[in-house]
């Protein structure tokens, strides 16, 4: 029993550290990639090619004054960043990032917890994140924050519906809610759900981008309209927590897409963990690439797109999958 707990704790610690490091260097990667898309160099000063920039940024944020504006609801104002930060990290508990490995005569699953409701857990936890944003917008006592919070809640709730529906096709085909089983059911490249569920994949991808508030769906924080949206009033570590949450969500969305549609850790020649991260970074690259290219939707267009196009398509996808399976 004790060894099980210790192994689990070690896995949690490793995942947490890796995730935090990834977030830090994702900000670096994003700045670098964006810069090169935009014919700039990006961070170059702190360390070679700006490699120490994330650490400098983190330190700077830690030492900044933590301003609490007057007129805010102090409890909720403090709670909101935590609420948006913690769920984003909890999602990684069920994501398998490699096959079983054998260490010290034990077989260890490279997943913190493989339980049979994996997907349901992800959706349940991920949808908690929206509270952080709504409450931040509401408690800040700022009109921009309020508008940002409202936009964001509407957007995330709408797109969560299609997001949930888009993966149902995968669940039907794999006949399991456990992420490990879903990965195992995609044993060859032709069985990857990106090929068996192309429509589902596209809908998932669009919704995932909307869920993570990235361009072209970055309305809640549209800097040209709402200054910084719901976190306008935040500073110091509270601000950083929103940022951590946002980037963690990006990694989550990529990890889920990898697991559900790209066969997770599976692939030839290279070790499973390497494959997992390769696929993960493909998605992250796509996220950044989109940001460099596309304009931003307008709020009503975004809602119409979500409810009017994506939702019917997601339902159609389930319907077709059902027919094909019965047939």
């Amino acid at each position: 029993m004790l060894t099980v707990v210790i192994i689990a704790l070690i896995k949690v610690a490793v995942v947490l550290v890796v995730l935090l490091l990834m977030i830090a260097y994702l900000t670096w990667l994003e700045r670098k990639l964006l810069a090169h898309f935009q014919v700039r160099l990006g961070p170059m000063r702190v360390g070679p090619h700006g490699l120490l920039q994330p650490i400098a940024d983190g330190l700077k944020l830690l030492f900044k004054e933590d301003v609490t504006p007057s007129g805010v609801n102090k409890v909720i104002y403090t709670l909101a960043p935590i609420l948006s930060f913690v769920p984003a990290f909890m999602v990684f508990a069920v994501i398998p990032f490699g096959d079983k490995i054998f260490l010290f005569g034990r077989s260890i699953d490279l997943v913190i917890s493989d339980f049979n409701m994996g997907i349901l857990y992800i959706f349940a936890v991920a949808s908690l994140g929206v509270y952080g944003i709504v409450l931040a917008g509401w408690s800040s006592n700022n009109k921009y924050s309020l508008l940002g919070g409202l936009r964001s809640s509407a957007q995330m709730v709408s797109y969560e519906v299609s997001l949930g529906l888009s993966v149902i096709g995968v669940l039907m085909l794999s006949e399991s809610l456990s992420l490990v089983d879903i990965v195992r059911s995609q044993d060859t490249i032709f069985n990857w759900y990106i090929f068996r569920q192309p429509l589902g994949f596209i809908i998932f991808l669009i919704c995932a981008i909307a869920e993570t508030n990235r361009l072209p769906f970055d309305l809640p924080e549209a800097d040209n309209e709402l200054v910084a949206g719901y976190y306008t009033e935040y500073s110091s570590m509270k601000f950083a927590m929103f940022y951590l949450g946002e980037y963690a969500n990006m990694i989550n969305a990529s990890a889920i897409a990898t697991t559900l549609f790209l066969g997770g850790w599976q692939g030839p020649w290279l070790p499973p963990v390497v494959w997992f991260f390769l696929k993960l970074f493909t998605f992250l690259f796509l996220f950044i690439w989109l940001r460099a290219t596309l304009p931003r939707f307008r709020y009503d267009q975004l809602m119409r797109f979500g409810w009017g196009i994506l939702l019917p398509l997601a339902l159609l996808n389930i319907f077709i999958t059902g027919i094909v399976m019965v047939w």
Binding site: F37, R151, P216, A222, V227, P295, R296, R298, Q301
Partner: protein
């Protein structure tokens, strides 16, 4: 102390007043807009200006005619040469002198390049408002080429002050031809690039088509000019309808839109860049030999070589610099088609070396006044896109 002027009473109790600016990422400088919102719908948008007031018009009254030219640079600071040209032409009209053909060709060439530079700033910041940050950097990369050329001719990237009353400050330098040729070789491709990023982009179309619409009649009533007016389908371009500086010599089209929305304004401006390149090519081929500044003793400076050799020229040079020149009594208005619209200078002269009054008719100021008409009833996000499409420069609005 409360200033009554800026107190804006909400129309009803259900609306929310949001103050945008003067420090806000989407207000292009220091424009302040007090927006009354019903949900996210704009009920009323009131522009509040004056945060960049520099007293340029007033300062002009205490400068001699030639000393005013550097002040005009600072009005529309992304289209400096257009301002120089507008002012110089107005004073030339007052003095009844004409610049030599060479100066006219170079003026046309440089102001058309200025138009491209100004439109590049516009397309970059407008696209950035709608979320394409990349466009901003692309546009500014190409603008660098133009600024290099301006630096080559005038020594300054932005505050050029290259035109003088009666001609140019100095002759065009060596390497001017090749630099302009390079620009006219590089740009068509770059403009195609911008179009491939934006013109057919579905999200861009969704954001700009049918947004910020103004009808032909309203546009004329508001006194709008420039690409906004032409976007409504009115073929009004001072370069065609009231040619100055020899524009009648050049062959070019005036692009117009049909629906008067943001997208049409965008297309008008993009096509204007292409037309400007056409004019630039013709002007470069046609630059004649000869003087670069008219020889009007007492008004323009004598050629430098003569100053070194002749006593009279030295005296004229000294007196013109120190005293300026006395313009005849009277008043004059001259307007040009600046990148943003009709830029007019109204000068009242009382016969002294300094203008009695200079009143500028700034296109941005007039165009901005239509803001409420353009955005009321639309969403807040549309307002950001619309402000971008008006293409304002606060330096010119506040003066």
């Amino acid at each position: 102390m409360k200033t009554k002027q800026y107190e804006i009473e909400p129309i009803s109790e259900d609306t929310l007043i949001v103050n945008m600016g003067p420090q806000h990422p989407a207000t292009h400088g220091v424009l302040r807009v007090v927006v009354e919102l019903d949900g996210e719908t704009v009920v009323k948008a009131t522009p509040v200006i004056g945060y960049l007031h520099t007293g340029i018009e007033k300062t002009m009254e205490s400068k001699t005619y030639s000393q005013v030219i550097p002040l005009t640079d600072r009005m529309d600071y992304v289209a400096n040469l257009s301002n120089n040209l507008g002012y110089c032409l107005a004073v030339e009209k007052l003095l009844d002198i004409e610049s030599p053909p060479k100066a006219q060709f170079v003026r046309v060439l440089l102001t058309e390049l200025t138009r491209i530079a100004s439109h590049l700033v516009w397309v970059g910041s407008h696209a950035h408002d709608i979320g394409v940050a990349t466009m901003f950097l692309y546009a500014f990369r190409e603008r660098e080429l133009l600024l290099d050329l301006f630096e080559l001719v005038s020594g300054q990237r932005m505050m050029t002050s290259y035109f003088r009353i009666g001609g140019l400050a100095k002759d065009i330098p060596d390497g001017f031809d090749s630099k302009v040729k390079e620009i006219s070789r590089v740009f068509p491709e770059k403009i195609d690039d911008y179009e491939s990023l934006l013109t057919k982009n579905r999200i861009w179309l969704m954001r700009t088509k049918g947004v910020g619409v103004i009808s032909k009649e309203d546009a004329l009533d508001c006194g709008l000019s420039g690409p906004i007016l032409r976007g409504c389908g009115v073929r009004w371009d001072l370069r065609k309808s009231n040619p100055y500086s020899g524009y009648e010599r050049f062959e070019f089209d005036v692009p117009t839109g049909t629906s008067g929305d943001i997208f049409d304004r965008y297309l008008v401006r993009v096509n204007e860049m292409r037309q400007s390149l056409r004019i630039v090519k013709q002007a470069l081929e046609g630059i004649p030999e000869g003087d670069f500044i008219a020889r009007v003793p007492g008004v323009t400076l004598p050629p430098k070589e003569e100053v070194f050799e002749s006593m009279e020229a030295l005296i004229f040079h000294f007196k013109t610099i120190v005293d300026g020149f006395c313009a005849p009594r009277g008043e004059v208005y001259h307007s040009i088609e600046s990148p943003k619209g009709e830029l007019g200078f109204y000068i009242v002269s009382d016969g002294t070396p300094k203008p009695y009054r200079v009143k500028v008719r700034p296109p941005c100021f007039v165009n901005l006044s239509a803001l409420n008409k353009l955005v009321s009833g639309r969403l807040l996000a549309d307002m950001v896109a619309t402000i971008g499409s008006i293409d304002i420069v606060l330096g010119e609005i506040d003066r």
